[in-house]
């Protein structure tokens, strides 16, 4: 092979449109966010570099609490989505009449604009008029009207349930597709050997769809971490910060309080967390695949 092998520019040309828009909309704003995080940028026209002051300030002000809450919120939400998604996929994969219709009907929460779905949930959680409080009272579970978004714990869980409602259909359909990719003869061989349905699920389905579960968990975790519309429309981070996740905290600091510098420092933290999180995750998957648990 010659040392001066001519570079083939064709694949690079193919990447130009995607790169261009990514540079303008993502790369430059990201670099600018990092720069701003070292300044005291605000509404005033004068801006100075302040070193790590924004980061120091951030950690002295109950920020660790926000981080912990964000992870707790994300873990709960993703766990629900994956568990409900696996169960849903198993049910929709069963060869029973009506499953095509059921597959069609589980998707609307994912199809409709997120904000519109969340408006409706805001009504559902209403204590005076909403369906949940109403039915709860009728069934004797609630003594009187209950405002789900007015108390810290119930607001926290309510935002998670809405997030699960929106995120589960995609998880379900993705895992369903993975299940349908499992070769049928594996099941038939196991069936011939007298393996029960539960055993077949545990020893054939689950191991074979594990890569899809892992991929979906990671994607879902990233989306959930970045989830903004749901919490903002339902509670704006309240009551008393009970639903203030990192992304809500960032938006409140930067947009509502006009502290661009401090807001940017928070945004940088989010990116760092997600990068660490993904890196850790990929390492874990690689390790698992070497051990042979995941093919």
């Amino acid at each position: 092979m010659s040392a001066h092998k001519k570079i083939d520019w064709f694949p690079y040309m193919l990447l130009v449109p995607a790169s261009l828009i990514t540079l303008i909309i993502v790369a430059w704003p990201l670099a600018e966010t990092i720069r701003l995080s070292f300044t005291d940028a605000s509404m005033s026209p004068e801006t100075q570099y302040v070193g790590f002051e924004n980061y120091q300030k951030m950690f002295s002000r109950r920020f660790p609490e926000v981080i912990a809450r964000t992870f707790y919120w994300m873990m709960l939400s993703v766990t629900f989505k994956i568990v409900v998604g696996i169960i849903g996929a198993v049910l929709l994969n069963a060869a029973v009449p009506g499953r095509t219709l059921a597959r069609l009907l589980i998707m609307p929460p994912w199809i409709v604009p997120i904000a519109v779905g969340v408006f409706i949930w805001g009504w559902m959680y209403n204590g005076q008029f909403g369906m949940i409080s109403g039915l709860g009272q009728r069934l004797g579970l609630l003594a009187g009207p209950f405002e789900f978004l007015a108390y810290r714990n119930s607001a926290f869980m309510s935002t998670i349930i809405t997030d699960v409602w929106i995120g589960t259909p995609l998880v379900t359909i993705y895992l369903l597709a993975a299940m349908q990719g499992v070769p049928r003869d594996l099941y038939e061989a196991a069936w011939t050997d007298g393996a029960s349905r539960m055993y077949r699920f545990r020893r054939i389905t689950l191991p074979l769809i594990m890569p899809s579960i892992a991929t979906m968990s990671l994607l879902s975790a990233i989306w959930t971490f970045n989830s903004f519309d749901i919490i903002w429309i339902l509670t704006e981070g309240g009551p008393r910060n009970a639903t203030t996740t990192m992304i809500i905290d960032t938006y409140k600091t930067a947009i509502s309080r006009f502290r661009y510098g401090e807001g940017s420092a928070r945004a940088v933290m989010i990116v760092i967390f997600l990068a660490l999180f993904s890196g850790f995750y990929f390492l874990m998957i690689q390790k698992l695949s070497k051990r042979g648990d995941i093919k």
Binding site: L14, P17, I24, I25, V26, A102, L105, M131, Q137
Partner: protein
């Protein structure tokens, strides 16, 4: 035979499916009920699903209360279509490059694109505002289209790349041997074969673009005529004395277009995911 279930398995499956569907559809049912109730009949003790005073009046009066509802729906649809088209123009060539060519920095570049998935518009909102301002795009459709497009590209590349990798190389090699140019080969040989995969990506992109029309329109646009459906409704919603029945009626009518698109194209989503994107 393997697909035969005992009676209790049938019961289990249908009860499970019913619970799943109730969870997924209850909010729409509730919205529909509210849209039928007169404003002074919203509150009832004990809670009842159906009351005697229900009517479809809100579906008529809402066009007066939200005069721009048509515009919002059209805007949402148009923005989603534009994001899908611009997105595909970036996704298709990029996915082809990653699927078929060996070039320096390929894996690193792919990693960079996938990393875009980790940031969201909400994180970058301050500098994004400056970019839109600098390009003179504030209060134009492009302020909603451009950020939307950038954030659908990574997932699109990922989905389409794995689909393209399954297309046999012989197809292109035959075309190239016949003297066809590489652009010609991409457009006339690969694209037709890859159409099912492209359809899946297009639908997924469209739905994502339709779902995420809140933040950008809320932040970059202040012209009411250009608002997308969620923001248009949000502003109607945020006023004093919310007319709840009209609000719910407008929400349900507003989501009709995307629901219709979904019903007609849904087979591509399940079939496409099954055939191409997931299976290894």
């Amino acid at each position: 035979m393997i697909d035969r279930y005992s009676w209790w398995e049938y019961v289990l499956i249908y009860v499970g499916l019913a619970l799943f569907l109730i969870f997924a559809l209850a909010p729409f049912f509730e919205a529909f009920l509210v849209s039928l109730r007169p404003l002074d009949g919203l509150f009832s003790i004990p809670y009842r699903f159906f009351t005697d005073d229900m009517s479809f009046d809100a579906y008529i009066s809402m066009w007066k209360s939200v005069p721009l509802l048509w515009r919002y729906m059209l805007n949402s649809f148009g923005v989603a279509v534009a994001v899908t088209l611009f997105g595909l123009m970036a996704i298709v060539p990029a996915a082809y490059a990653f699927a078929r060519f060996e070039f320096k920095g390929r894996d690193a570049l792919l990693g960079v694109f996938l990393a875009v998935n980790m940031v969201s518009g909400a994180v970058l909102i301050i500098p994004l505002y400056k970019v839109m301002q600098g390009l003179g795009l504030l209060n134009t459709y492009f302020a909603m289209i451009a950020p939307g497009t950038a954030f659908v590209i990574p997932t699109g590349i990922w989905l389409l790349r794995s689909y393209l990798m399954k297309i046999p190389r012989e197809l292109e090699e035959a075309a190239l041997v016949d003297g066809a140019g590489r652009v010609y080969t991409l457009v006339r040989v690969i694209l037709p074969v890859a159409m099912p995969g492209i359809m899946v990506v297009a639908i997924a992109t469209f739905i994502a673009a339709y779902a995420q029309q809140f933040l950008y329109a809320l932040t970059f646009n202040s012209v009411n005529e250009l608002n997308t459906l969620p923001v248009g409704l949000f502003q109607f919603f945020g006023r004093q004395n919310v007319v709840w029945n009209e609000m719910m009626a407008a929400s349900l009518v507003g989501i009709l277009p995307v629901m219709i698109v979904y019903v007609f194209l849904q087979k591509y989503i399940v079939a496409g995911l099954t055939a191409g994107a997931v299976k290894e």
